[in-house]
Amino acid sequence: MTRFRVSAVFTLLIGFLLAYFVWSTQADPTSPYRFKLGLDLAGGTELVYKADMSQTADGERSGALSALQGIIERRVNLFGVAEPLVQTEQASALSGTTEDRLIVDLPGVTDINAAIAALGETPTLEFKLITNVTVDTTTQEAYVPTGLTGRFLSKATLGFGSGATAGLIAPEIILNFNSDGAKLFEKITSENVGKQLAIFLDNQPISSPVIQEAIPGGQATITGQFTATEARDLVRNLNFGALPVPIVLQSSSAVGPTLGSAAISAGVVAGIVGFVIVSIFMIAWYRLPGVIAALALAEYLAFMLAVIKVIPVTLTASGIAGLIISVGIAVDANVLIFERTKEELRGGKTPREAVHIGFSRAWPAIRDGHLTMIISGVILFWLGTSIVQGFALVFVLGVLASFISAVALSRVFLLAIVPEEGRGAWHFLLGSGFRQASSYQPPASSI
């Protein structure tokens, strides 16, 4: 008994500390442990791009993807967003072909078209060899990718060379490669002397000079049919980052700040109301154990919120829904235990014995039920898209916490106050519903 009392006081203390942590970190606007809100709650824009890897060798895909990520990150930073998030995702397995995606989250940005325009201006730069391919009887020119792309570019500068016609000055773009790019460029030029090397900007061939000799040093010059202004813009965009592979906008979404803040306050109100109604129901029906369940539930919530803050889990509307449902699941574990305890009490056991047996009898059902829910949650997380994952993560955490809450909290609290021998009042307090549980009743033969 003393052992359980000490544990009960100890767990209560932890509960208070957790609640204080949740409250104080939220009150302090500079705390690193404030709730991280998803775009649907905080407002913002999410853009999902598909990286077109059809021209990229399998071994280079992940390299190209991370290069792409770095460049888009630079572009996003130029756009001036606080805490942007650029993620890559490789979707596969289910659709048969792998697909590389780039997910760009821009919190606070609500002008979706401006965001798309700012990111979309980034040009792609590719070098392709022109070879003659004979299909059936006709010979066609074909472009063969060389693997040299904008990814290897270190800098682009504007220059003016003398044009074909004497006296005219033609703008030209001077490309400087990084060391890997320089080696690749030298290799390509040395192996293909006499062939044409086409330079593609945004999938358009700009110029296709003939390779005269191997070019060491990593510098190439593009002379095309552009005006000085066009050339200047191209240089600027290339310096912001030429993309190693083309990207296509697949989906986009933006949530304005009003809808988001309405969703937050609605979620908080729903959570509080839900908690209060469930507590009232539990106390009215289960009396003393109901009070303990409400207490355990409050501690369960403090624990969940603290975990969400510390990990941190980004809260979305679906995540809040997951949290509220997990509260229902946590109650179920308590209901199972209390019903079992009550049965044992009816069977003539002393209150303390009844609590002990009630817990051990309820255990297999709690274990199997929680495990199947955790398994479904994990599968959801594994297969899901971001909105499904937001739900699944909170749901799995909630079910895990419910395990702990039922077994550790409710049990310890009950055993800390239920006496060894108790009659009358204790039977009433541990009873439930509108019937007296003080005397043995045969199990209901019908309802």
Partner: protein, 298 residues
């Protein structure tokens, strides 16, 4: 005992509800949202009051994007669904529906058609995978119970149940969507998957009681008909089943009345599923084991 004695009645009742649900799905259909089909969805608020929907509809026709559906969204806002729009079309649409009014774009979502079909695939796989794993887990958890129904029989019964547990809320949603213009979005799939977890838990509690009684009877040499064991198990777990459903339903009602617009349909589907699921696990899960047991006796 009541339920066991009248199990024929409950089977028929279930059949009737199931027929109604399937009928609703067939007649009304489940309107797939842009998460599945691809397309654009925008919510626009008119702070000074919403013009007539027909007028807004007319305005949208200025932008050549094919069929446009305009619906009310909350008090002062509308929800517009089109095929996937490009940024220029999106901007044009916003200007078109604004007209002379002040507007605020609350939210805009655009999903490419390719991404949409991938999501459908993923959702189907997720449901299939969850069901498969649940059967395997139950077959494992009940491995020591083999008479009169082998442990995988419990798994199969659960699957039969789950199929029905998903069809009933889906049928409800088909009817609901028909009258309110709601669509099947990814949260609907989340709701179905969460229901899978909830209903399995519900059935497991009853099966756990059967497992306990069968083990006890065997140990103590008590002879009892399988029907009596099941009837006893259902009666004993009934209060728990109803109370749990009640608490979850209370939490969901709070979510429906006070929660965000975005999760309202989700909570509604969950609520119907929880009520239907509890009813079906009480009246059908265990009673279904009886014909199965008779079949194995032969």
């Amino acid at each position: 005992m009541y339920i066991i004695q009248h199990r024929k009645f409950f089977f028929w009742l279930t059949g009737l509800i199931l027929a109604a649900a399937i009928g609703a799905i067939l007649v009304f259909g489940l309107p797939l949202g842009i998460d599945f089909t691809g397309g654009s969805l925008m919510q626009v608020e008119y702070p000074n009051g919403r013009p007539a929907l027909a007028d807004i509809q007319k305005q949208t026709e200025l932008v050549p994007v094919g069929a446009v559906s305009v619906r009310a969204f909350g008090e002062n806002a509308i929800s517009i669904r089109t095929r996937t729009m490009n940024p220029a079309e999106h901007e044009a649409m916003l200007i078109a529906v604004s007209g002379n009014e002040n507007t605020i774009e609350l939210a805009y979502t655009s999903v490419g058609p390719a991404l949409g079909s991938q999501f459908t695939n993923k959702a189907l796989w997720a449901i299939f995978a969850v069901i498969l794993v649940i059967v395997l887990y139950i077959a494992f958890a009940f491995r020591k119970v083999s008479r009169p129904v082998p442990s995988w029989g419990y798994g199969l019964t659960v699957v039969a149940m789950l199929a029905i547990d998903l069809i009933v809320p889906a049928g409800f949603y088909a009817g609901y969507a028909h009258y309110t213009g709601a669509e099947v979005d990814s949260l609907f799939i989340v709701a179905l998957l969460a229901l899978l977890g909830y209903c399995v838990n519900d059935v497991i509690v009853i099966f756990d009681r059967i497992r306990e009684h069968l083990n006890k009877n065997e140990k103590e040499g008590i002879r009892e008909s399988f029907e009596d064991t099941i009837g006893k198990s259902i009666s004993e777990t009934m209060t728990r089943s109803i109370n749990t459903a009640l608490t979850v339903a209370l939490a969901l009602l709070a979510l429906i009345y006070f929660g965000a617009e975005a999760t309202r349909n989700f909570a509604l589907v969950m609520l119907v599923g929880v009520v239907a699921g509890t009813f079906s696990s009480i009246t059908r899960s265990a009673p279904l084991l009886i014909p199965l047991a008779n079949w194995f006796k032969k």
